[in-house]
Symmetry: C2
Subunit: 217 residues, 2 copies
DNA sequence: CTTCTTTTTAACGAATTGTCAAATAATTAA
DNA sequence: TTAATTATTTGACAATTCGTTAAAAAGAAG
């Protein structure tokens, strides 16, 4: 019954902690205090302790946190101890890039199949991953224990496809298409809206420019 | 002197407003109230009004917001009325995908040059954008009014390159490499850490799984 | 003049930061 | 070597800051 809801802000910071702890682990650092880590990461020590305490007390007073232990605890929290099977929907520029990206496998994310509407691509492969017609997607998901669908098709097409794959039981969607997907509550969606990101960068530039200009008047 | 700092939370929502307003504009909708928009977007009307008011009163009481006007105001706020010149650093899978992505030009982001360390690529082009040796990057930035550098090289290499391009005056970095860049205050950085995003998705799946399991005991 | 809808202000809630007791580790003294 | 002392560091909680939502005031439309 002690299922306290963890805030999105905390969760968003976990991958970053994980990355820094990985670096420390590679450097054979055995232990680290919240203060040291806070200086490396440019955050407050208090925040680090608070964040980690959401998941249980991994630290020891007077000692700090054991790097190896904390690293594997965070992996656990993030669900990285489990293997994930992915499919890619849309073998365009971005889709091909993601399919070709080997690094995800290090964290247990394996791409198993690619789907597209271009018949010219059927039977071809990217890194040994077969490209198939989109009509085979339902069967493939069911037969290959697919967890996650990576959506890299135009916004206009994605709503339809997502409906289909959700209907056949997929539980997570990594959405690169520029639309807000409307799925049932038991499906997780993570959006990567590149153009939104670029606009935020544009805003940041503009506001810096403006501040500079207003300073010199 | 009235330069109130706008919170990152608000700014992050602007591109989404912009997208919905663009859709309304395409549908020839002339005006919209915060309540209608809030229902479309699944946020509170209060938040929309509060957000937009940060930038001045674009709405009219008893009328709502003029779609066309608000759309262009947001473009202005985001700095989209200005043209931006980009370079890409790193013509790997992801880099090539971004260089090939035509849509950014619609928002005024033009990719002007691509840089890599692979001599085999020199002289080749992606969508008419030339691929050049990385040693020419400083001159190119200076001679072509480059605003934004898109970093798509491995984390190990990016720190060095970023130092160089910042030294020759670049003002914004769109960072796809998996490392936190340490740049001076007048340079804007927007990170796109895909593996972090995937981990968040993994967490979301796991916590839904856990909740399901704990329900059925 | 009634309804609609924004703007402005206020209340509320969430997230971050600061502080301190308690626990451990490290150091010094005997 | 052991005991005593000091330094370190967490976890818990309090204080503060920040963000969101709601309510009140004001203005425009019909």
């Amino acid at each position: 019954m002690g299922e306290k809801e963890i805030s999105q802000a905390v969760i968003s910071r976990l991958p970053r902690y994980y990355r820094y702890l990985g670096m420390l682990k590679d450097k054979k650092v055995e232990r680290i205090s919240s203060r040291e880590l806070s200086q490396m990461m440019n955050v407050t020590a208090s925040q680090i302790r608070q964040d980690l305490n959401n998941f249980g007390g991994f630290g020891h007073q007077g000692y700090g946190y054991n790097v190896e232990l904390l690293y594997s605890e965070i992996a656990n929290i993030l669900g990285l101890s489990r293997q994930h099977n992915l499919i890619l929907v849309g073998a365009g520029n971005l889709g091909k890039a993601l399919a070709g990206y080997v690094n995800f496998e290090r964290r247990g994310f394996y791409m198993r199949g690619i789907f597209d509407i271009d018949p010219f691509l059927y039977g071809k492969k990217i890194r040994d991953i077969p490209i198939m017609p989109i009509d085979e997607i339902e069967d493939f998901i069911k037969n290959n224990e697919i967890d996650i669908a990576v959506i890299c098709i135009p916004a206009t097409a994605s709503t339809k496809v997502v409906e289909r794959i959700v209907a056949c039981g997929i539980k997570a969607i990594w959405n690169f298409s520029h639309v807000d997907l409307d799925v049932s509550d038991d499906v997780s969606v993570e959006n990567v809206h590149l153009s939104d990101s670029l606009m935020r960068l544009s805003y940041a530039m503009k506001s810096k420019r403006d501040r500079q200009e207003s300073k010199g008047n």
